[in-house]
């Protein structure tokens, strides 16, 4: 059978791989990489101070050159493969740091430019009769609350019940189609949702219509799939054992779901809703084409245009009056408020999830 003659050929040109003596090579000292970074930074700074200082160039240059130098050094002292390993480690770490730069820069920018308007007037007045200096976001903030509130009111019950359907009752074709289309819905561009809301009302009321509720409808389309997905996830986490125990006690199915499963998943569902709100509260595009612009407070979503924070920010920036500075200031102020709202929602969602959530046991 096995008569293919194995040549006891001369060993291949590589050294016998399993020779432990090879393993005792040198190592770069622990302070080595730090020294390289520091040294490169100093040298580069010196060079740049002569030809023109640029902090970005200093940072990027230091990182790139240091990585290269450490790579060569490790390659010589520890071996080619170890050198590559070190080089990759440094590169990956640097790329992560690079990814954090926009976050830091953006937060810093918005904070420093928006902080000039964090005054009482900003939060207590609208733009009614205001030209130039002064004015505030009261009307926009109220509008955002109303529009987003309506959207939440519509999407949360539908979303939760649809998730209940999918996870607890669903079968067959309806379930499959629904799952598929919820997935599809998560991909709808926000402006398309806005166009839909516009189209819906334009057919009945003509193309000039602008209402707060139209914005809510657009946001609902965007929120529903998020709520469905996250609620489904939470229902999945609730152990089947809990349902079975309830059944074993003679509790009917609907009571089990309503009084056992949902309360158990409640923290997670709330978290999901908060994150959905955080997602849509900053959406500009759909509101741009549905709610119009308005400078006073409007409390009626079913009548007339309604201001809101994102559109206000956009318009203030893009179409400032003369002089432009107050408008730009207001834009950054509103942007700062938006970011703060989103951050608070994010943190609160995380807090709720940590404190009250049930953990997925892996």
């Amino acid at each position: 059978m096995s008569d293919r003659k194995l040549t006891s050929a001369p060993a291949p040109a590589m050294p016998p791989a399993g020779n432990i003596a090879d393993a005792a090579r040198g190592r770069i000292p622990a302070w080595g990489p730090w020294a390289v970074f520091a040294g490169t930074a100093v040298v580069l700074a010196a060079i740049l101070s002569v030809i023109g200082f640029n902090i970005a160039l200093l940072a990027v240059g230091t990182v790139l050159i240091s990585i290269f130098v450490i790579f060569l050094w490790a390659r010589k002292v520890e071996g080619q493969r170890q050198g590559l390993d070190r080089g990759v480690t440094l590169a990956v770490t640097s790329l992560f740091a690079l990814a954090m730069v926009p976050l830091v820069s953006l937060l810093y920018t918005v904070t420093s430019l928006g902080i000039s308007r964090m005054d009482a007037e900003f939060f207590t007045s609208s733009m009614r009769n205001v030209l130039g200096e002064g004015g505030g976001i009261l009307h926009a903030a109220i509008g955002t609350v109303i529009i987003t509130g309506l959207a939440t009111l519509a999407s949360v019950p539908i979303g939760i019940m649809a998730a209940v359907y999918l996870h607890e009752y669903g079968k067959g074709k309806l379930k499959r189609w629904l799952t598929f289309f919820v997935d599809v819905m998560t991909g709808i561009p926000s402006i398309v949702a806005g166009l839909f809301a516009f189209a819906l009302f334009a057919i009945f009321f003509g193309p000039g219509i602008r209402l707060g509720v139209m914005g809510s409808i657009a946001l609902t389309v965007l929120m529903i799939p998020i709520v469905v997905r996250s609620t489904e996830e939470m229902l999945r986490i609730v152990p089947d054992g809990l349902r079975e125990a309830s059944f074993a006690l003679g509790v009917s199915k609907w009571r089990t779901v309503a009084k056992v499963v949902l309360p158990t998943a409640l923290a997670g569902i709330v978290t999901g809703v908060m994150l959905a709100i955080a997602r849509v509260i900053g959406e500009t595009a759909p509101l741009l084409i549905t709610t119009g612009v308005f400078s006073s407070v409007n409390l009626n979503p079913f009548e007339g245009r309604m201001a809101n924070l994102p559109v206000f920010t956009y318009n203030s920036y893009k179409f400032p009056g003369v002089p432009p500075e107050p408008y730009i200031d207001r834009a950054w102020g509103a942007a700062l408020v938006l970011i703060l709202i989103v951050m608070v929602l994010f943190l609160a969602a995380r807090f709720v999830s940590r404190r009250y959530g049930i953990e997925l046991r892996k």
């Binding site: 293919r4 194995l6 006891s8 050929a9 791989a17 003596a21 393993a23 190592r27």
Partner: protein, 273 residues
């Protein structure tokens, strides 16, 4: 088959090395898992490590090729010397230690995205990029033959490794580990996940491989230790939370028929564990 394996001795390999372990203590953070082990792993012999679950034999095995360091905070005190080199010397790179001391695990795990050929050659490609194709072919064939797998796979070397049976997969993993010609081969319960027939096939393989390698095998199956090893070491742990210790180590026949310590006798006759 035996004749082929004998032919497989090429220069630069084939003579297993010995390991001297002195006063080895293995820590996870501040928790002492294995305490004060001193023993010698004899070259070209099969050393089996037995003991009940949780007594530290796997931890000890992993400390022999510095695999236990994958867990954060793991460290050792004492020395492990292979062929005169302390593998825990500060200048020693763990990566290179592992090229010299190979390991086969409990779950057969061929790399799923690679073919049988590529699986076997995986370690080779790491260590030397410049091997020519015919040399690579030859090493792959020799390793697969050495693992008693060649005839079963020679016609489908380019198929994925996952398509084989459990026993075949484990032999593939053995071929993969031996392709780099380690000086010592560590095996952590290599047959636990296999059926009895596949187990016996691997035990036969081990018997043969010891001509070329030094083998250390951890097993919870005493009959396997009795069948397949030359030397047996018994690990034990007094209570949970205590460190594991090497209670007794001697020729297999002696451990199973006439051990020196009572506690060893209690274990091998099944009175506990």
């Amino acid at each position: 088959m035996a004749a082929v394996a004998a032919d497989a001795q090429t220069p630069g390999s084939g003579v297993g090395k010995r390991i001297d372990i002195k006063d080895l203590n293995v820590y996870y953070g501040s928790f002492l898992a294995v305490k004060d082990v001193t023993m010698t792993v004899k070259p070209n012999k099969v050393t089996a490590l037995i003991g009940s679950s949780g007594c530290g034999k796997s931890t000890f095995l992993r400390s022999l090729n510095r695999m236990h360091e994958l867990i954060n905070g793991a460290r050792v005190e004492g020395s492990v010397t292979l062929d005169g080199q302390n593998i825990y010397a500060p200048s020693m790179d763990p990566v290179r230690v592992r090229s010299s001391i190979g390991m086969v695990f409990q779950q057969p795990n061929p790399f799923p995205t690679m073919s049988i050929y590529d699986n076997t050659a995986a370690g080779l490609k790491l260590n030397s990029k410049r091997i020519k194709k015919d040399q690579m072919d030859e090493i792959v064939e020799r390793s697969l033959r050495g693992a008693h797998l060649w005839d079963e796979v020679k016609d489908r070397l380019d198929k994925p490794g996952a398509g084989l049976s459990g026993g075949q997969q484990q032999r593939l993993c053995i071929a993969r580990a031996t392709a780099v010609q380690p000086e010592v081969l560590l095996m952590d319960e290599p047959c636990s996940a296999l059926d009895p027939i596949a187990t016996l096939a691997i035990e036969d393989l081990i018997e043969e491989m010891k001509r070329q390698y030094t083998i250390v095998i951890v097993t919870h199956n005493m009959q396997q230790a009795a069948r397949a090893s030359d030397i047996t070491g018994f690990f034990n742990i007094k209570e949970t939370g205590d460190p594991g210790v090497l209670v007794e180590i001697d020729e297999t026949e002696k451990i199973f028929s006439n051990p020196s310590l009572k506690i060893t006798e209690d274990y091998v006759s099944g009175r506990f564990g």
